[in-house]
Assembly symmetry: C2
Homo-oligomer: 166 residues x 2
Amino acid sequence: MSGGKLDPIDRKILAELQADGRMTNVELAKRVGISAPPCLRRVRALEEAGFIRGYHAQVNSRDLGFEVQVFAMVGLNSQAEADLSRFEQRCRDWPLVRECHMLNGEIDFILKCVAPDLSTFQSFLTEELLAADNVVTVKTSLVIRGAKLEPGVPFDVLEARAAEIE
Amino acid sequence: MSGGKLDPIDRKILAELQADGRMTNVELAKRVGISAPPCLRRVRALEEAGFIRGYHAQVNSRDLGFEVQVFAMVGLNSQAEADLSRFEQRCRDWPLVRECHMLNGEIDFILKCVAPDLSTFQSFLTEELLAADNVVTVKTSLVIRGAKLEPGVPFDVLEARAAEIE
DNA sequence: CCGATTTGCGCAATATTATTTCGCATTCGG
DNA sequence: CCGAATGCGAAATAATATTGCGCAAATCGG
């Protein structure tokens, strides 16, 4: 695993842990075809090297009382790096904003937001987001339903590419 | 935990497992202030009841060779339920599409896509997405950088609300 | 208000799993 | 062809998960 390159076993480990992050190490080892100790060493190395950023339980936000999900497309006045960074920091400070991506094109940022109800979101929108420095336009779209929510990366595509490269 | 309602310990469990999905049960028990066996029982019950949908390792897609992330805003011709469902099924079948949300407003769907490189994405865009039945407009925006990527739900907001309700 | 039922805790015992240690095989550069 | 480096896996040990109770507090019908 030295030079930062991954062999097929490493990729299999990542794929399995992406699919089930609580799999026991013995089960994982069985699936990738090596014994438990080297398997654990590989997992630790992958964590250490940053290929694995963390493990998270996927909670059902609707059941938890966050009925509203919204995508907000934000346009800024100035795209100077300092202003972009300042806006990003704002987003990090807002708990209702779960994701913030800087985009190219007319939209500068897209935010994925959650809220317990519409009025909570509206308050956030008008009092926080629209009121924020440097924000010019915000277009929001309510999520009606999530049709696909796959975490991470398509490992089947990755394997196909890896096979090509060989 | 009977009627589907959550007590403060359950919420703490969810918060902790959302933050670190591989935490051992003893550590979790320690943090939420009960002993290991009832803690494990609660976790199982939360999984069973669907509050926890699964556990996933968060892999670093860029390091894995998926350099390109794109948001695609899709407009359809017909919004009849059958047509919406057909499009959603298409999205589920496309590995490069990781998320698909149905929205209100002029945009019908927003897709979060990944690809190893731009040309792979362009091929997907022209040969698959734009060529798909019922698709009228697709606006794409490249992700320049991800400024905030918090999985799940803001438990601090949840706790604040829970406190109000009491 | 009281006893029966329910719910949920935690101790203690057992089964699984994680982690360390170490020796062996393979690879690689000289 | 040889020593160093890498990575595997068996075996031993340390932690953890899981099960099986008994017990206490809350709930409920009378």
